[in-house]
């Protein structure tokens, strides 16, 4: 008996309840069935291995026999076990599977295995002799050209070929940025570590990273070596003995009633081991791709064949696709009853508050309004008497953006006992999800172990317990075998998570001197069949003293549900608000920064305003619409603000003894640098190098660690790690005193006493094992709200300021980002190289949101059209321009650790800055994202 997936968000300490549970009732029982006597299939993945191949792989000759449908990717990963070669898109768009075929990079996913015959294959594992590094790998480490590391082997492979070619032709000359970008145009990085990648390849190609005479230097990122060599094992790389492959049957219709699901024929197929129901008692399907059932089989092709053999008896019903259809008069309600409304998935980070429904429109949510009437009156007055001030009104629209981390949602579950399960999971919260699993399956917490040593990106989509995990755990239980469920890219782009589309009707009123009198906003969110968008709270955060009448509505329709996505609600809100502020500045003929200073009491951002005003590039920007030719340049600015969270339960444990110092916590690295932050923090207390500290994370059996969501990892871990390290230091000081008979002082590396220095290692050599657990103490002055179920909103707001320069091609409608300047006020920066990379990645994701990314559904059937990374276009390495980051580290003195997190902050303002830059360049004021060429041309032509 399993309870349903929790719909609680923040109250659980997990960020986001965007689990897909779309049933009529919350029947707790998951129904499954085991195949009576599973027999091995006649044909399958491993099927008629009829074609003999001879080739060399990483220098060694191999003979292997393969079946005709096998790709080189399958051969490399499964038959050869070389898992540095990653599958991410499956159709040649991302380059994560790049390998060298006769020294030329190719996409292994599109390469038939038989093409390897009599050829030379090199994977990331074979770029350098064992134990050594290729210069490109060394450069990636030193320049921190990576985050989560999932795409890194593919980049390294492609770059190694460029390195060889370039050096043969140009010697030690350094290639320019665009030359590198052209060579790496076949590789995508969702974390967008592109700036570091370009720098690394430029430097490696100019000979700057040839083999050093001494030992390899330690990289700024603690786990960089495992990531650049392909040694880092992600969930998708887990291969357990007897492991089955699970596949999910999904709704082919946007709206249908399920009469019957009959999997008997599927279970009778050879190689099929079991099936589980994923409807949870629900009978209505509300989007194309909704999970219905899952099958475990000997391999993926057998599982897919079994899915096709499931008999579905559906009553197909007319769908409502998109907000306009759902709001149309007479539109049938997507959730017709109170009970069904309660089953709507939660797209938000927080708990769902009870709100009214009007047909398919849920809301208003207006908890964060302040001086509502005053705001309304200020707007109404200016409508009557426009001369009394400036009123900027307009509707701003944004599109659905998909998280689409390059490692898809993936889970390998194995029951180790009747009441114990080990779950390998690509997750942002090993600790929280282990608790969710224990609760859901009624297990003792210590009988659940969630493992995630490396996670290939998350961005908010992997925070909670989700159906790939439910399916794997249930299938593993029913079949008594380990079961792996990995989403394909199309599934990832369907249910893997998305930022809702928004329409925001905004009015900003100022007096004649440019002082803010009021803001009114009505925000309508399209999170498909899910609810809970609360984006306008961010308008409360910004320009905090002004009267605000701000409200959110959900418009439910037959489309996939949303999940919290890096800065949930932020990019749409800032797209509207920050453009409106710029319009007001134009009308008032004021510098947009000076106007914001009038609006904005926030000390963090005021630091940033002063920084921006001091920038030559800002001071000397050309007047609006200076260029009159085909290519027009402009500069835009926007600011952002973000909450600051900590997880009070977060702990870091230090174990120390003769074997060294180990710091551990049940946190995980999703590319944000968790290991680095812990190692750097502990090492700083002891005056050691980070590499001297062994870090263990990604395991729920360790002391509780924070979920990597809500920009809380660093802010939660640094104080805990500091505390544990200080306890160790103090203990060792006492030991030193006993040892040498005099009180010493801690110095880098050990204890200085009257007769010399005794090192930490010497002190630990004769020591029994020591253990200290540091906690995350509350901030001075407490939190903004008391911690609710393990998450505390801080009293402080982090600030960002974004300047972007663009060039608009008025003939072809193309916008090119030339340069971006990012100012960040998020307190103390623990790991500068990593913080910079993360900040630039957030900016580049914002560029993608502004210019390219757009999930599109068929308007008639609700089917996903942008189902791959060819059609769902994330930014490439050539789309980023030049970027710089400026950190203002002042402030936040009352915050324990003085760090408040920046992951989300940095992605809020880029789209708005680009909108303002386009208007500055051309006079065309964009309202709708993304800024595709057709929209630009239309806007320019009026």
């Amino acid at each position: 008996m399993s309870p349903p997936i929790s719909r609680r968000g923040i109250l659980r300490g997990t960020l986001g309840g965007g689990t897909v549970l779309v049933g009529e009732s919350c029947a707790p029982k998951i129904v499954g069935e085991r195949a009576e006597a599973p027999s091995l299939p006649a044909v399958g993945d491993a099927g008629p291995a009829s074609h003999a191949l001879e080739f060399t792989v990483n220098g060694a000759a191999r003979s292997i026999t393969v079946d005709p449908e096998r790709t080189a990717l399958e051969l490399v990963r499964r038959d050869l076990g070389l898992t540095g070669c990653k599958e991410a898109c499956g159709h040649g768009a991302c380059g994560a599977c790049s390998v060298l075929l006769d020294d030329v990079p190719v996409a292994a996913c599109l390469l038939p295995a038989v093409a390897l015959h009599r050829r030379k294959l090199v994977t990331v594992e074979g770029l350098a002799p064992a134990g050594e590094l290729h210069p490109v790998q060394r450069a990636f480490m030193a320049e921190d050209a990576l985050q989560c590391g999932f795409c890194t082997p593919g980049f390294v492979v492609a770059a190694s070929a460029f390195y060889t070619r370039w050096r043969a032709e140009h010697g030690d000359a350094e290639p320019d940025r665009d030359t590198v970008a052209a060579a790496l145009a076949g590789n995508l990085c969702r974390c967008a570590a592109y700036d570091g990648i370009i720098r690394a390849v430029q430097k490696a190609s100019s000979g700057a990273y040839e083999k050093p005479p001494g030992p390899e230097p330690a990289p700024p990122r603690y786990d960089a070596r495992d990531k650049v060599t392909g040694a880092a094992k992600y969930t998708v790389d887990v291969q357990l003995p007897g492991q089955l492959e699970g596949k999910i049957l999904r709704s082919p219709h946007a709206h249908a009633r399920v009469r019957k699901v009959d999997w008997s024929k599927a279970l009778a197929l050879p190689g099929v081991f079991g099936a589980v129901d994923l409807l949870h008692g629900g009978t209505t399907l509300r989007f194309v791709g909704q999970e219905i059932a899952a099958i475990a089989a000997i391999d993926a092709r057998t599982a897919e064949a079994a899915l096709a053999a499931i008999e579905l008896d559906l009553e197909v019903l007319p769908p409502l696709v998109g907000m306009d259809a759902a709001r149309a008069p007479g539109a049938a309600p997507v959730y017709p009853t109170r009970n069904t409304r309660k089953s709507a998935p939660n797209a938000s980070e927080g708990p769902l508050l009870p709100l009214g429904w009007d047909g398919n429109v849920r809301g208003p949510f207006q908890l964060f309004s302040t001086a509502k009437l005053k705001a309304r009156r200020a707007v109404a007055r200016l409508r009557e008497a426009p001369a009394e001030g400036v009123l900027v009104e307009g509707t701003y629209k944004t599109q659905v953006q998909c998280h689409t981390a390059l490692e898809p949602h993936a889970c390998v579950a194995r029951w180790t006992d009747d009441d114990a399960v080990t779950v390998h999971l690509s997750t942002q919260g090993v600790h929280a999800v282990a608790e969710d699993i224990a609760e859901r399956w009624g297990l003792r917490r210590d009988r659940v172990r969630v493992l995630a040593p490396y996670v290939g990106g998350g961005f908010g989509a992997k925070v909670t317990l989700q159906l790939e995990c439910v399916a794997a755990v249930e299938l593993a239980r029913i079949t008594a075998r380990p079961v792996r469920v990995v989403l394909e890219r199309r599934e990832e782009l369907t249910t893997g998570g998305l930022r809702p589309a928004q329409e925001i009707e905004l009015a900003v009123a100022t007096d004649r001197d440019g002082y803010l009198q009021g803001v009114t906003a009505r925000a309508f969110a399209d999170a498909g069949c899910s609810v809970g968008s609360t984006s306008t709270v961010l308008m409360r955060l910004m320009y905090a003293k002004a009267p605000k009448d701000i409200a959110d509505w959900d418009v439910v329709n037959h489309a996939p549900p949303g999940k919290p996505f890096r800065g949930p609600g932020g990019p749409p809100v800032f797209w509207a608000l920050e453009q409106a502020v710029d319009i007001a500045a134009e009308r008032l003929e004021l510098d947009p920064i000076l106007l914001r200073k009038r609006f904005d009491p926030n000390p963090a951002r005021n630091h940033l305003y002063d920084w921006a005003l001091s920038l030559k590039t800002w001071r000397e920007r050309q007047p609006a619409q200076s260029d009159r030719g085909r290519f027009r340049r402009g500069m835009g600015l926007a600011v952002g603000g973000w909450f600051y969270f900590v997880q009070p339960s977060a702990r870091v444990q230090i174990d120390a003894g003769p074997d060294g110092i180990v710091a551990s916590t049940a946190c995980q690295d999703i590319g944000n640098g968790t290991r680095t932050v812990i190692a750097a923090t502990v090492a700083a207390v002891l005056g050691l190098a980070p590499a001297d500290i062994k870090v263990e994370i990604g395991d729920s059996s360790l002391v509780p660690g924070p979920t990597s969501g809500g920009s809380r990892t660093t802010a939660s871990l640094v104080p805990a790690a500091t505390m544990a390290a200080e306890q160790l230091r103090d203990e060792l000081l006492e030991r030193a005193e006993q040892l040498v008979g005099a009180r010493g002082v801690a110095v880098p590396g050990g204890v200085r006493h009257p007769r010399g220095v005794v090192t930490w290692q010497q002190l630990l050599a004769g020591s029994p094992p020591l253990r200290f657990v540091g906690t995350r103490k509350r901030d001075k002055g407490g939190y903004f709200l008391p911690p609710m179920a393990d998450i505390a909103p801080g009293r402080y707001v982090a600030g960002s300021l974004q300047i972007i320069e663009v060039e608009v091609d008025t003939r072809l409608g193309k916008i090119r980002v030339l340069r971006s300047h990012t100012g960040i006020a998020a307190g103390h920066i623990v790991a500068p190289a990593l913080a910079r990379s993360q900040a630039l990645g957030g900016v580049i994701q914002g560029i993608g949101y502004a210019l390219y990314e757009e999930r599109r559904l068929d308007p008639n059937t609700g089917a996903l059209l942008t189902g791959g990374l060819e059609d769902y276009r994330i930014p490439g390495i050539g789309d980023i321009g030049e970027l710089d980051v400026h950190f203002v580290e002042d402030g936040y003195e009352r915050v324990n650790g003085r760090s408040v997190g920046l992951a989300e902050l940095v992605t809020l303002a880029p789209a708005a800055a680009i909108g303002n830059a386009v208007a500055h360049a051309t006079g065309f004021r964009p309202r709708e994202l993304p800024l595709r060429p057709d929209r630009v041309l239309q806007g320019l032509r009026g």
């Binding site: 990079p105 996409a107 599109l110 052209a182 599109r856």
Partner: protein, 337 residues
């Protein structure tokens, strides 16, 4: 389930039921999507199809020559710069390393209604075009037939600007026009009969002092299908445009040659006003779908861009040793317009 054949001679590859595979960059995905079933006839071991050679002043591209090889070949770059530029702009370096001339010309459409599991459209055996009544933002603006997916081959757009003979084993020699038909048969991706094998293309001689350009209108810098693409070849003598070829892709279910644009160029002075007047008629005859009217504007802009860039080029000077002198351009033959 499925069979794989690896013939070792051209003859052995002909007349067999199944689908031919060259680089596999298109077919591999279609196999996975179940858009291709049955036997695969892989050309891995068929010799003699992967060379770029001169034949009596004309350049022959073997069917198995990769796009990377086309883009990098010194003679192609020198004498057929628009072909080299087009090949270099396709897809990604990893794809170009495997994708072939033959495969690129005969690949299937990239329509997002076609390339998905359970596709139900004219090309996948269904009865209607869901793009026409659905989301066709990136589809045709010249509505030539029931299928409105843009023709996927950029190389075809470039080759259409030349006199091209398409060599086919197991069928007659084709022009690009006869290779693709008139776009009215939505079920076909090309007009070759089953069992035939495209072995290569022979490009007519380049013009004396040819100036060429390729423009690909996209959102991102690279690795993207074109919204509109244009190939221009101009021969200019004594300040006048003697010969003009303007072909476009991304706008119809066939690559198109813009005769109206060419007519306004030939015999006119080679200056900006001529180019502007010619580009202005680029969308003549277009019949956009509900959401593709923007492509008319884009097409005029891209044609003007390509004309300007072609005119600004200096004529290709250096002649590789083995390159014979080109013969004058022949009159146009019937090709899709």
């Amino acid at each position: 389930m499925t069979a794989l054949e690896l013939p070792t001679t051209l003859d052995a590859a002909l007349g067999r039921p199944g689908e031919l595979r060259a680089g596999g960059t298109d077919l591999t995905e279609r196999r996975r999507l179940d858009l291709s079933r049955g036997t695969v006839i892989d050309l891995r071991d068929v010799p003699g199809l992967d060379a770029i050679t001169w034949r009596e002043g004309q350049l022959h591209l073997g069917a198995l020559v990769t796009l990377a090889a086309v883009a990098a070949h010194p003679d192609v770059r020198a004498r057929y710069p628009a072909v080299a530029a087009t090949a270099a702009a396709v897809a990604t370096p990893q794809i170009r390393a495997r994708a072939t001339v033959g495969g690129n010309l005969l690949q299937h459409v990239r329509c997002w209604y076609y390339r998905r599991p359970g596709a139900d459209c004219l090309k996948s055996g269904g009865s209607g075009c869901p793009a026409r009544s659905g989301d066709h933002l990136f589809h045709a603006c010249f509505d030539l037939g029931p299928c409105v997916a843009p023709h996927p081959s950029s190389l075809a757009t470039a080759l259409l600007a030349y006199e091209v003979r398409v060599e086919v084993a197991g069928d007659r020699e084709h022009t690009l026009a006869s290779l693709y038909g008139d776009g009215s048969d939505a079920r076909r991706h090309h007009m070759l009969p089953p069992g035939a094998l495209l072995t290569g293309v022979l490009l007519g001689p380049p013009l004396a002092g040819e100036q060429a350009a390729y423009v690909r209108a996209t959102s991102r810098a690279r690795a993207e299908w074109p919204l509109v693409e244009v190939v221009v070849r101009l021969a200019v003598a004594a300040g006048r445009i003697d010969t003009a070829r303007v072909t476009v892709g991304g706008v119809a279910n066939l690559p198109l040659r813009l005769a109206a644009v060419e007519a306004l160029l030939v015999g006119k002075p080679a200056h900006e006003a001529t180019l502007a007047a010619a580009a202005a008629v680029a969308a003549e005859g277009a019949k956009p779908l509900t959401h593709t009217a923007y492509k008319l504007d884009l097409l005029r802009g891209a044609v003007l861009d390509a004309l300007e860039r072609a005119l600004a080029h200096t004529p290709t000077a250096a002649t590789p040793a083995k390159t014979p002198e080109p013969s004058p351009d022949k009159p146009a033959t019937a090709e899709p317009t």
